[in-house]
């Protein structure tokens, strides 16, 4: 088996790691947008996360990773219902991908050879119950982006073509990454992501040395390296497992709700998505920390990643949106 660089061995990047963990606890938070420099461990983190999460149980051979035999779609090949434990799927969505490959299309092989109209599932099916990772999302073609947003919203992929009518669940957490110097994302798209974090390469020499040391150790002996990080990985995994069970019982007081509303009003963020994201992320954070209620400090911690991408842009504000969220936090707290 190919070893994956351990999630917990990533140096720094605490915001990115936290955002990913929160969406793993509550996928309803929505996707994570990671903006930052090259080579800052964005894709390493996504893959590491999948290896770290508790395995999921799927019907062997099911194209949409169904948990039960009853959920296997009728267009899928006949399966015997054996359940297997697999890693949470992470599916890469490459640039320049065709619509057919994303949604699934006619199974060309069977059509040509047997003259049978069969459906071959696409990337959306493969990502069901897992993650869809889009590197350089800001360079993705518009019509693919629209399609993804639509599916991410409805949780369902619908394919209609020439008498073929296929529908299957497609519930996934979208993780998009990109470099802001290469172009911006449309605000409609930004808003659909639950959380957004900026990453940069580590700024101190010692952190950078650590990065290289660890990577070098991993390359030299992956098995040994992963083994030595096993305990760290287990701690995070356990915390996620417990948090998933506890999240339904987390209290949210009126004070906290009011604080969220005031914060969003102060920032003038559009719609209710901001409040919802704050609440969901706050609840997931409380659960992750083993608390039974969301406190103002939880909200303060996740406010920048929940809101900074929902603000109207002010090109003349040098400070950037993260700082604006901070200012608003200070103002509301007073």
């Amino acid at each position: 088996m190919k070893h994956v660089y351990p999630f917990s061995a990533i140096v720094g990047q605490d915001d990115m790691k936290l955002a990913m963990i929160l969406t793993a606890i509550d996928p309803k938070i929505g996707g994570v947008l990671v903006f930052g420099d090259r080579g800052t461990g964005k894709s390493t983190a996504v893959r590491g996360l999948s290896a770290l999460l508790p395995k999921i149980s799927v019907v062997q051979g099911c194209p949409i990773n169904s948990a039960r035999l009853d959920d296997v779609p009728d267009w899928a090949p006949k399966l015997d219902g054996t359940l297997v434990q697999v890693l949470t799927p992470v599916v890469d969505l490459p640039l320049g991908v065709s619509e057919d490959r994303v949604t699934g299309a006619l199974d060309i092989e069977r059509a040509l050879m047997e003259g049978v109209k069969a459906f071959q599932s696409g990337l959306l099916a493969a990502a069901n119950r897992g993650y869809l990772y889009i590197d350089e999302i800001n360079l993705l073609e518009d019509h693919i982006v629209d399609l993804l947003l639509d599916v991410a919203q409805s949780g369902e992929n619908v394919v209609e073509r020439e008498g073929m009518s296929i529908k299957h669940p497609a519930q996934f957490v979208l993780i998009g990454s990109g470099n802001p110097e290469e172009g911006d994302l449309r605000p409609q798209l930004l808003d659909r992501f639950g959380l957004s974090v900026d990453v940069g390469s580590p700024s101190t020499v010692s952190d950078r040395v650590t990065v290289i040391r660890r990577r070098d150790a991993f390359d030299t002996d992956p098995a040994q390296f992963c083994h030595s990080w096993q305990a760290q990985e287990q701690i995070i995994q356990d915390a996620i497992t417990v948090a998933r069970e506890q999240i339904a019982f987390i209290d949210v007081s009126e004070d906290v709700l009011e604080f969220c509303a005031k914060l969003c009003m102060t920032l003038g963020s559009d719609g209710l998505r901001g409040e919802l994201a704050l609440l969901r992320a706050g609840r997931a954070l409380a659960a992750y920390q083993g608390r039974d209620a969301v406190t103002l400090s939880h909200i303060q911690q996740i406010a920048p990643m929940s809101l900074s991408h929902r603000l109207r842009r002010d090109p003349l504000d040098e400070a950037g949106s993260g700082a604006r969220v901070q200012r608003a936090l200070d103002a509301v707290l007073q």
Binding site: G96, L112, G115, D207, I212, L316
Partner: protein, 555 residues
């Protein structure tokens, strides 16, 4: 004059990259096509066997393989095509600087997954054209051979034993710390390069039979791997060094390694800096290596976006022809091919041999024609008060702020002193623009002619790229520097008039914003000659400038 490091290591770099692609990725060879590149090509074939060629127009199937529907239909058996990346011993990419984003993405994805054949990228870019940073950053070796004459790639070849193991070679903390410090001081932020350098140093040590890298190994690795990508010359002066190390804040972990202290690494760092400086082109400071390096970080992006508009077809989509859309015959046939058996069964008596339904029809896609570039020509001379400059900056940022909705690009040409300079190549990125604009100061003469020429060159180029340029000049029109750089008011005006006529020929819409205290009649005439608008706007503020330009573009 190129340092000799590049030519000396060529042979070993090729060997290392081709033997251990997972560790070194590949080699970027920056050079134009010529006798030297021919010799290297022949050498590659002789030494490493036949390499497969990848070019920019290849699609996913061509690269990664797939079913060939048309051949399958013809032959009645399933025909799979093999992608060029599958099973290739090594892959070479001519004109790597023009490879479109989709291909780059496939390559980088495979590299990250560790199943990409070694890449030899021929970077034949001129000036600021360069191979995508995303790709170059994943290649350990970047060799600039553009000035190399009489090079023999076989010279640097080493005898690498079959069972050479270099992964276990030990690198000291001081060596890694010195390496990282040098990279930071040289403006290299990517962590992939220092990692490549560590690997290369290990390889060098193993070749000499050492179990531990020597300072010479790590220095040689720095010169080979890191030096060619430096953005600035690393200085030994501690004042310009980054702030002292903070204690390692990483959580308590099994592999806690501290960085060596500044004192420990000082001698080694000095040795590295000296070696790097000895291997840089002598004219580093006055040529634009610094700028080139800085540009490279962003160029990949600009180029990628440009390549979409350069006329390379985008993937065809299902659609109706007409309204200027053309049928993509091949894509249509491909779409219809898999259905033939099914359709034939449904209509056994259909007269056509090949049954095409309207839903098969694919139309070619072109970049949106509405993609526009606003080229600002901003007078930053002493006479046009400095305040103008900040208003222009503001206007650019406002325009960019909603550029994503309109698909507009913004570029900036600044002119002051002796000549004009392209400060911001066409971009849609606010982040980029802000970075560039922050460092632009004013003062000196008014080389309006030079500014117009630079802006017009860019406009012409934009047109070639399929975009619609709009020129917006902010100046007081007191041109006093001629095109040749001489301070002669009369010949300056003659040049300006010529250029204005040229602008009209080019058919570029333009707007001349007079920011002088009193309207300048001469400037008005120039605007008329250009066939553009003239607008005296003595109190131009950012918002009104951008409003005016937007209005002009809407016409």
């Amino acid at each position: 004059m190129m340092g000799h490091a590049a030519r000396d290591t060529l042979g070993l770099a090729l060997q290392a990259a081709i033997r251990w692609p997972d560790q070194f990725g590949g080699v970027v060879l920056r050079m134009r096509s010529g006798p030297v590149s021919d010799r290297i090509r022949v050498f590659l074939g002789d030494e490493f066997g036949h390499g497969t060629r990848v070019h920019g127009a290849m699609d996913r199937t061509a690269l990664l393989g797939g079913i060939d529907p048309i051949a399958t239909l013809q032959q009645g058996v399933l025909v799979h095509t093999t992608g060029v990346l599958q099973g290739a011993k090594w892959v070479h990419v001519p004109m790597a600087e023009r490879v479109p984003a989709a291909v780059i993405h496939i390559l980088t994805n495979r590299m990250d997954a560790g199943n990409c054949p070694p890449l030899i990228l021929w970077d034949e870019g001129i000036d600021d054209e360069a191979v995508s940073t995303n790709l170059a950053d994943r290649c350990a070796f970047f060799l600039d051979l553009s000035d190399a004459v009489g090079i023999d790639p076989a010279d640097g070849l080493r005898d690498i034993p079959h069972d050479l193991r270099w992964a276990e070679v030990i690198v000291s903390d001081a060596q890694i710390t010195a390496l990282v410090t040098l990279a930071i001081r040289g403006g290299v932020t990517s962590l992939r390069l220092p990692l490549f350098a560590v690997r290369f140093a290990k390889l060098l040590a193993a070749l000499e039979g050492r179990a531990q890298t020597s300072d010479a190994d790590i220095t040689a690795a720095v010169v080979t791997v890191v030096a060619p990508r430096l953005i600035e010359i690393p200085s030994p002066d501690p004042e310009t060094a980054p702030p002292p190390d903070q204690p390692n804040q990483a959580d308590a972990t099994p592999h806690d390694e501290g960085a060596a202290t500044a004192d420990d690494i000082a001698p080694l760092l000095d040795m590295m800096i000296a070696a790097v400086q000895a291997n840089l082109p002598k004219n580093l400071l006055d040529t634009s290596l610094g700028r080139m390096g800085a540009g490279r970080g962003t160029l990949g992006a600009g180029k990628r976006q440009r390549s979409n508009t350069l006329g390379r077809p985008k993937p065809s989509r299902v659609g109706k022809p007409g309204y200027g859309k053309r049928i993509d015959v091949l894509a249509t046939l491909r779409a219809a091919a898999p259905w033939q058996k099914i359709r034939r069964a449904a209509r056994p008596d259909a007269p056509a041999k090949f049954i095409i339904f309207p839903s098969d029809i694919h139309v070619k896609q072109y970049e949106m024609p509405s993609e526009r570039v606003v080229i600002f020509g901003v007078d930053a001379s002493g006479s046009a008060a400095l305040a103008r400059l900040s208003e222009a900056k503001g206007a650019i940022e406002i325009m960019l702020a909603d550029a994503y909705a309109k698909r507009d690009y913004v570029a900036l040409v600044g002119f002051r002193g002796q000549a004009a300079e392209l400060l911001l190549p066409p971009t849609r990125s606010l982040v980029m623009a802000k970075k560039t604009l922050a460092g632009f100061a004013g003062g000196g003469g008014t080389p309006l002619a030079s500014g117009m020429k630079c802006a017009l060159d860019l406009a012409e180029k934009s047109k070639r790229d399929g975009r619609t340029p709009t020129l917006a000049f902010l100046t007081d029109g007191k041109a006093n520097i001629a095109l040749d750089g001489s301070a002669n008011r009369d010949s300056a005006m003659v040049d300006v008039t010529h250029l204005a006529a040229f602008a009209r020929q080019l058919g570029v819409s333009s707007i001349m914003i007079d920011v002088g205290r009193r309207p300048n009649a001469a400037l008005h005439q120039i605007a008329d000659k250009m066939g553009g608008q003239y607008l005296p706007l003595p109190r131009a503020d950012a918002q009104s400038v951008s409003d005016v330009i937007r209005h002009t573009m809407a016409d």
